[in-house]
Every structure is written in C-alpha cells, then in structure tokens.
C-alpha cells in the first residue's frame, strides 16, 4: 500500500488526520514532562559549583533549543508555501509562530532566573541572551506582520519572506558563542564528550522530547483551528458542522 503524501496537503484531508495525531503527541508530552521533572528535581544530584540553581536548565535548555529550531521549521513551511503555493504549509507556519515565541520567552525568563544566583545579575548583555532576545523580536515581527495584513494569502507570503530573511539570523545566534567572547558558559551538550552527569543529561533529553511533543501537539491543534477559520464556508467544513452540531 502506498501512501499519497500530497493528499495530506489538502486541509480537508489533513484536518481529521491532525485530530487523530494530537493525542499521540499530547499524552507522551505530559508523561515525559512528569518523568523529566521528577528526574530533574529529585533524581539528579546537586551541582558542586552551581548548587541547586542549575536545575532550571531542565526547562531552560529544551525551550532554548526549540525556540531556534521552531523558527527554522516556520521558515521551512514558509519556503514551502512560497515555492509550491500550498495553503496548508502557510497555515502550519502561522500555527508555529506563537509556540516559538512562547519558547523564546520561557528561555529568556528561565535564563535570567538562572543568571541571578550564578552571575549575580538578572540580565547580562551576553551574546546568546541578546540573540535570544532578537529571536523573540523576530517572532513578534512575524506575528505582528500577519495581524496587520487583512488578506490571508498576502499575509502568508509576506510572513514567509520575512521569516526566511530572519532565518539567516538563526545560525548567527548559534555560532555567536564562538564569534564573541562572553561570559556565557559554552554549549553544555556535545556529541561524544559531555561534561554532565548521566542523570542530568537523561533528564534534560527527556524534557527536550516533552517540549518537542508539546510543540507538535499544540501546533497541530492551532493549525486545525486556523483551517476551520480560513476555510469556513467550504464544503468540507459545512459537512463537518452537520455531523457534529
């Protein structure tokens, strides 16, 4: 049996599929978050340098990873919508933006809470903090541009151009650690050689998967709402309304 992927590009087909997929991401996200928090708060040992303050990394690192990754995914869907002129890609890009902005915000707030006991200040103009702040502005710019344009098709394409332009900034964010000499500690996780205890690493990876699954579930849910809103009046939405009054 071959699956025709292009059939899924139609909102009418994708709407029920997304509805079936959401529990498969939402429940693992909740489960993994419980395990990750238990490991992070109770399982992992106290750090000999930073004390218990380091435990915020179990939220900080996953949200920081996702904040950058989601921007690239949003730009990817934007590129797909520009290139193939598909409605669903633009809807996905639109659905990702608020979650990405939320992750960036969480990364910034948790980072400053970690910075207070460790660096002695809530905010240092360090390269990674600053670029994360710029990333938040980029997300807010995309969201603001969409809400300023009344025509959804023009909004789709304008946001795609903007997010692709901003995507050039994301590698600069990542490599800023190497480019600028600052007081932010180097990247904690490297393949092969890790300085962290295994329990910490496992807890952090579990939390990363939890954040990842959460983002997918929320994005799909938001995409479903966007589909209904944009396609209201079309035959499949009307049929849907009749079966479920």
């Amino acid at each position: 049996m071959t699956l025709n992927w292009f059939r899924l590009a139609s909102p009418a087909t994708f709407y029920p599929v997304a509805g079936k997929l959401i529990p498969w991401f939402a429940w693992p996200a909740a489960l993994l978050a419980c395990v990750g928090v238990a490991l992070g708060l109770a399982g992992a040992p106290t750090d000999f340098q930073q004390g218990d303050a380091y435990r915020i990394i179990f939220i900080h690192v996953p949200s920081a990873w996702l904040s950058m990754f989601l921007y690239l995914v949003m730009a990817f869907w934007g590129a797909m919508s520009l290139g193939f002129n598909t409605r669903l890609s633009a809807m996905m890009a639109q659905a990702i933006a608020p979650t990405g902005a939320l992750m960036t915000f969480i990364a910034l707030v948790t980072g400053s809470f970690w910075g207070r006991p460790t660096w002695g200040t809530y905010w240092a103009w360090d390269a990674r903090m600053t670029s994360e702040l710029i990333l938040l502005f980029l997300y807010l710019g995309v969201i603001a541009l969409r809400s300023a344009i009344d025509d959804p098709r023009r909004a789709d394409r304008a946001c795609a151009v903007l997010s692709l332009t901003g995507a050039i900034n994301v590698p600069i964010i990542y490599y800023s650690v190497k480019w600028w000499n600052t007081l932010h500690q180097g990247a904690s996780v490297r393949p092969g050689e890790s300085k962290m205890a295994t329990v910490m690493l496992v807890g952090m990876l579990i939390m990363s998967f939890a954040a990842w699954f959460y983002s997918i579930a929320v994005t799909l849910h938001r995409a479903r709402s966007i589909m209904l809103e944009r396609e209201s009046g079309s035959a499949w939405v009307n049929a849907l309304a009749e079966t479920r009054p």
Binding site: L140, V161, L162
Partner: protein
C-alpha cells in the same frame, strides 16, 4: 502575454539588468533632488539625535569617546529607518509601482536601482557626516577614519535589508511602527560589527576583522536582498 508585446524590445533578461538598475537609479535620484529639503531634514534628524545623547548623560570626555561610535551607529540606524517609507510608499500610493513592475526590465534590477538611489541620498551623506559629529564626541583621528569606513560599508546593508521591510509593509495601516519592529532586529548584526570595529581599532586589535565581516554581510545582502525585496513588492501588488 501583453507584457512582452507592449514593451520595447529587450533581447535577454540578463542584458536588461544593468539598464534597469540605471533607469531606476536615475529616476529616483532625480525625484530625490527635486525634494532636497526632505533630504536635508533627514540629515538634520541625524545631527539632532546625536546631539541629544551628551545632553541626556554627561559631557565627560572619556565617556563620550567611549559611547560615540555606538551613538553614531544607532542614529544612523534610526535615520535609515525614518527614510525607508520614501523607497516605495509614494510610488505605491499613486500606482507608479504597478506600472514599474509591468516594465520589461526585471523587477529585481529596478528594485536594486531604487535601493542604490536610497543609499546615495541617505546612507552616504550620513557616513560622510559622521566623522564631523564624531569630533563632538572627542573621538581621535584613527577612530573617525574607521567609523567612516564602517559606515560606508554598513549603510548600504541598512538600505538593502530595509527595502525588504519597506516592501512588506506597503499599504498597511500600522506601517511605520511595524517597519521598525520588522527591520531593527535584522539590523543588529550590522550594528554590532559596525560599532565594534571602532572599539577593536581603539583597543589595538585592529578593525580588519570587523570590517571584513561587514563586507561579507554587504556581499550577501547585495546578492540576496534585491530578490527578497522584489518578491515582497510583487506580494504587495497582487
């Protein structure tokens, strides 16, 4: 397609690039020179913003020479932002932009010409004026030279990136403030390397690395931005 039928014969798209750039450049320069007072006001804005910082902090010499490059760069960013609506908005409002987009020249070439004209009338004067204002900030000769060089390389990037934002916000109600939100974050790397070049020169590291990075950014922007801006113009005209 009427587009080909009604237009003067242009052999190839590639052959039409330079004439297209030249046509748009000459046209926009001519329009800019007819409203010289507008250009003067933009330069005055730059001078005034730069003059406000010592008044709001302290006229202490060491502090001024430390923050001088940063202030001059931030003011250059703001001056560029303020002048961006001039790039497309008037042409969009009276329908000229639609006619321009129908011309046989590639839209990317016409947009490049408009961006070049924008830089010649806003970025270049700012870069030439900056060393004079730097003297007010007690900057020494070497710092002034590096500052001028960095502004000469960096301000075209501001015009190029700004063109994308200006085209994206064409005809939108919240245009001006939205443009600031879209474009200022993209300006940040230019600001960091531009202002950083003067600091690097003063600390003995040499400004070469920063100026090279700025030049690399300029090359990327020259290659990519006209395409993005032209796409944004087409989106706005649809």
């Amino acid at each position: 397609m009427t587009r080909e039928a009604d237009s003067p014969p242009v052999s190839t798209a590639a052959g039409a690039v330079l004439p297209g750039v030249r046509w748009a450049l000459v046209r926009d320069l001519r329009i800019a020179l007819r409203s010289r007072s507008e250009l003067a006001v933009q330069l005055l804005f730059y001078v005034i913003v730069v003059a406000l910082f010592p008044l709001s902090t302290t006229p202490e010499r060491n502090l001024l020479s430390t923050m001088g490059p940063g202030v001059l760069w931030v003011a250059a960013l703001l001056a560029s932002l303020l002048s961006l609506p001039r790039l497309f908005a008037a042409d969009y409002a009276d329908g000229t932009l639609e006619q321009i987009a129908l011309s046989p020249y590639p839209l990317e070439a016409l947009v490049s010409g408009k961006i070049l004209a924008h830089w010649l009338t806003t970025g270049l004067p700012v870069a030439l004026l900056a060393p004079l204002l730097g003297v007010q900030y007690q900057m020494d000769g070497e710092s002034l030279a590096v500052l001028a060089a960095a502004l000469l390389i960096g301000t075209p990037i501001l015009s190029l990136l700004g063109a994308i934002g200006a085209a994206l916000t064409l005809g939108l109600r919240a245009g001006g403030s939205l443009l600031a939100l879209l474009i200022l974050p993209l300006y940040v790397p230019v600001l960091i390397f531009g202002a950083g070049s003067v600091d690097a020169a003063r600390s003995g590291l040499g400004a070469t690395a920063n100026l090279s990075l700025l030049t690399a950014g300029l090359i990327i922007a020259v290659v990519g931005a006209p395409f993005a801006a032209a796409t944004a113009v087409r989106i706005a005209l649809d």
